[in-house]
Amino acid sequence: MADRALAPDTPELRAAWGDFAFAPAWEEKAKAAIARYPAGRQKSAVMALLDYAQRQVGEATNTQGWLPIPVIEYVATYLDMPVIRVLEVATFYTMYNLAPVGRFHVQVCGTTPCMLRGSDDIFAVCAKRGMKRGHTTDDGMWTLTEVECMGSCATAPMVQINDGNYEDLTPERFEAVLDKLSAGELPKEGTQEPGRHTSEPSGGPTTLTAMVGENHDYRGEW
């Protein structure tokens, strides 16, 4: 039932990640995160530390990273808290990957606004390229996950790939993004619609139109 499941605790996993420890750069960030809270409240930094740990795993595996059980245990020891409490946090938030992901973690939003604006077509593109929900492609490049609203409804449909958002997608634009990624280039993040900058109204402003070019005093018109 649950889409997410912990990677099984095997001797191989322990062998691979058993000696995980923060690299100096991440350790510095971790210390800074802990320092945000009063002494003795270091547990509050658990979410930040899990993120850093995941990113460090990501650097090692050249992916977005994930959280193997020994790494979760490392964070628990680091924060002096029961490991079950850390595991609760890690399993609660979908931002933490509980199983290895591919080079690019394609998170397609399927919530209502994106669905109405054509997320089904985006999924179709993924399917065409051999991606299956919750799976990594055999070449290790793509992992597809369907996610709930990412708060980018004004530029729906949207996809988050690793740390970048790609918005205002059509099947063609999405294909272009994926092609660039697989070619090793970095596509432009944000909206993919020509002429649009961020989330301003599509097709030009519909209100305060007189303000576009220069400042305009509307007060006389009230």
């Binding site: 039932m1 649950a2 889409d3 997410r4 912990l6 605790d9 059980i69 029961p82 490991v83 079950i84 409490r85 595991l87 609760e88 399993t91 609660f92």
Partner: protein, 668 residues
């Protein structure tokens, strides 16, 4: 003291009470799943919805809403009825309809409340959620599909037990309750989550599919697995005790019992002594009662007879033996089987004076030689409460895994005469300072050194006596009240070289010391005592006789007989009465009632349920204490008494939880 109106009835409720508590005070029943008096408030089941004015025009969760002045609460309105029905319908969406094969059936909160507050039928046609089972150890059986996510078990293990091992993974509909990586729950109170679980998600593994609650005879009894005297209920069917459950007694066990108290009962049917045995040519052979009595009487011991009380004995048995010995002209009575010889001239000095409920109000606690978690798990729960309230705990003795922050002061007992400054500081500030002396300390002769702390640390104040001795034998305080103590301890008994030794369920004695005596074992299990005995007279266990028990705080409690003893076994007092006839002496009682009144006439405190008064603490004698505590007397929590040692469940727990062996499970 806010005044609120509940269904038109105006009542005053204590400050800080919740709306739910206010409704209860008004005599209204509020259905609930996640709310539990002894756990923190979670507010996630939503079953306790009521209508509260002033407030938003919607039902509110009463368990998490403070009662305030002038609230108008309705528990009987149409809105409340509909809200409860709605919540119940949601809870039942994913709850399987497997009551006929569920062990909780008949004592299930969800079942009861859906009858009382739910809709008649279901409108749900989708597939139900299914959750894989989780392994939680040899005691807890899980069927997680039934779980309604009340998180009582999570809160219990975190707050009461102090061992964070159960958690809720994933979120929303996918939420699953599990132990970390499905490891066994490893603490002494783990099975209490079975009682807490309002549905059949966590049920008792050893009791699985044994019986339905309505088939069972319920007997009020007292637990003998430690000296706390936890109030239990023995559920029996026919001649077998099927399970033990805690009863609520805030002064003793609140509503918890240790796993040993709960699960040693299967030992009551195993390794039982159910016929008379006599040792002939070095081998035990079955015999008749007449032969046995003849053999014992043939020794003609005169006054050369001793009685050694075991750990599980009731006061009546000990008194009957005492009366027999008195009639023979002997007073060689001893209950401290391992040879402890602390001074018992004042029982106040060997009592848990702060009381069990009182220890949780202590704010500085010094534990000397006690592995509290194993010797008295229920006291450990209280200590954790005390620490949560801000108490500082210091422990002298080998380190053990505490469930609360504590400072270990090392094994050397000489630290008592020169306490480190941090301890002195903590005690100087304390309003209710307490010292707990354990068995390991008593064995090293630390009693008088402990008493000397009374003055130095100011343990006795008005309405507060913080000097505590923590025993772990259920019979200890009762035995001491009945005079089961020689000045020199067991050595005095050995020194007297009695012709006959009556071993009353005594299994911890080194019987090689009594090589020349006729050892008559009167007990219920074929354990160490029976192995060494010359004559075995089968007797009744704690479940098979009425009896009075005194716990470590001097609380006199009465237990009732749940089942009959197996085979030829008899209640202990009848055996001792018959022995009196065999010896040709008169003990002055012919029935249990007569025995009891004779006992109460001699020790009036035993006739009154409640705390016995032992008077004031004696003055300490100046002593120089040295030596180290190298180990605690309990080596294996699950196997401390003959009943537990005979229990397969306890053996399994010991092997798996303490010795880490894999539980052998058949492939499924």
């Amino acid at each position: 003291m806010p005044k609120v109106t509940v269904d038109g009835q105006e009542i005053e409720v204590p400050d800080g009470a919740t709306v739910l508590q206010a409704c209860e005070l008004a005599g209204k029943e509020i259905p609930r799943f996640c709310y539990h008096e002894r756990l923190s408030i979670a507010g996630n089941c939503r079953m306790c919805l009521v209508e509260v004015k002033p407030g938003p025009p919607k039902p509110q969760a009463s368990c998490a809403l403070p009662a305030t002045e002038g609230q108008e609460i309705r528990t009987d309105s149409e809105m409340v009825k509909k809200a409860r029905e709605g919540v119940m319908e949601f809870l039942l969406i994913n709850h399987p309809l497997d009551c006929p094969i569920c062990d909780q059936g008949g004592e299930c909160d969800l079942q009861d409340q859906s009858v009382a507050y739910g809709r008649g039928g279901s409108r749900y046609h989708e597939n139900k959620r299914a959750v894989t089972e989780k392994y939680m150890g040899p005691l807890i059986k899980t069927v997680m599909t039934r779980c309604i996510h009340c998180t009582r078990c999570v809160r219990f293990s975190e707050e009461i037990a102090g061992v964070d091992e159960i958690g809720a993974l994933y979120r929303g509909e996918s939420m699953q309750i599990t132990t970390y990586l499905e490891h066994a729950a490893k603490h002494e109170m783990s099975a209490n989550v079975i009682d807490l679980c309002p549905v059949g998600a966590l049920t008792s593994r050893p009791y699985a599919f044994e019986a339905r609650p309505w088939e069972l005879k319920k007997t009020l009894s007292i637990d003998v697995s430690d000296a706390i005297g936890a109030n239990i209920r023995l559920d029996s069917r026919g001649r077998e005790v099927l399970r033990a459950l805690p009863r609520i007694n805030d002064d003793v066990n609140e509503e918890w019992i240790s796993d040993k108290a709960r699960y040693q009962v299967d030992g009551l049917t195993r390794r039982r002594l159910d016929k008379v045995w006599i040792r002939k040519n070095g081998k035990l052979q079955a015999a008749s009662w007449e032969e046995a009595f003849k053999k014992v009487a043939a020794v003609k011991p005169g006054n050369s007879i001793a009685a050694i009380a075991g750990d599980l004995l009731d006061c009546e048995t000990m008194y009957a033996a005492k009366a027999l010995l008195k009639a023979m002209g002997s007073d060689l009575l001893e209950g401290r089987q391992t040879g402890m010889d602390y001074d018992v001239s004042s029982l106040a000095a060997v009592n848990f004076n702060s009381t069990l409920a009182g220890i949780e109000t202590a704010d500085a606690i010094l534990i000397v030689g006690s592995h509290v978690r194993w010797e008295a798990p229920l006291v450990n729960v209280r200590l954790r409460k005390a620490v949560k309230r801000g108490a500082k705990v210091f422990i002298v003795g080998p380190e053990w895994e505490t469930t609360f922050p504590a400072t270990f002061l090392g094994n050397d007992l000489s630290v008592l005469s020169q306490l480190p400054p941090e301890v002195l500081d903590a005690f100087a500030e304390a309003q209710s300072p307490a010292v707990i002396l354990g068995g390991a300390a008593l064995a090293k002769g630390a009693l008088s050194a402990g008493l000397s702390l009374v003055e130095r640390l100011g343990l006795v104040k008005e309405n507060w006596n913080g000097f505590n001795v923590l025993h772990f034998s259920a019979s200890r305080m009762g035995g001491l009240m009945l005079g089961y103590a020689q000045k020199g301890g067991m050595a005095d008994i050995v020194g007297a070289t009695p012709k006959v030794v009556l071993a009353l369920g005594a299994d911890e004695v080194d019987y090689t010391q009594f090589a020349d005596s006729l050892k008559v074992y009167i007990g219920h299990h074929g354990d160490k005592g029976a192995h060494a005995a010359d004559v075995i007279l089968p007797a009744a266990s704690y479940a098979e006789k009425d009896g009075t028990y005194v716990n470590t705080e001097g609380r006199v409690q009465f237990a009732e007989k749940a089942v009959f003893a197996p085979g030829d076994a008899r209640e202990d007092w009848t055996i001792l009465r018959a022995l009196a006839d065999a010896f040709g002496v008169s003990v002055g009682f012919d029935s249990f009632t007569q025995l009891q009144s004779a006992m109460i006439a001699e020790v009036p405190a035993l006739g009154q349920e409640g705390l016995a008064n032992y008077g004031v603490l004696p003055k300490a004698k100046a002593t120089k204490l040295s030596g180290t505590i190298d180990a605690y007397p309990i080596r294996d929590f699950y196997l401390t008494n003959p009943v537990a040692r005979a229990s397969t469940v306890m053996q399994k727990c010991s092997a798996e939880l303490l010795h880490g062996s894999e539980l052998a499970e058949a492939a499924e």
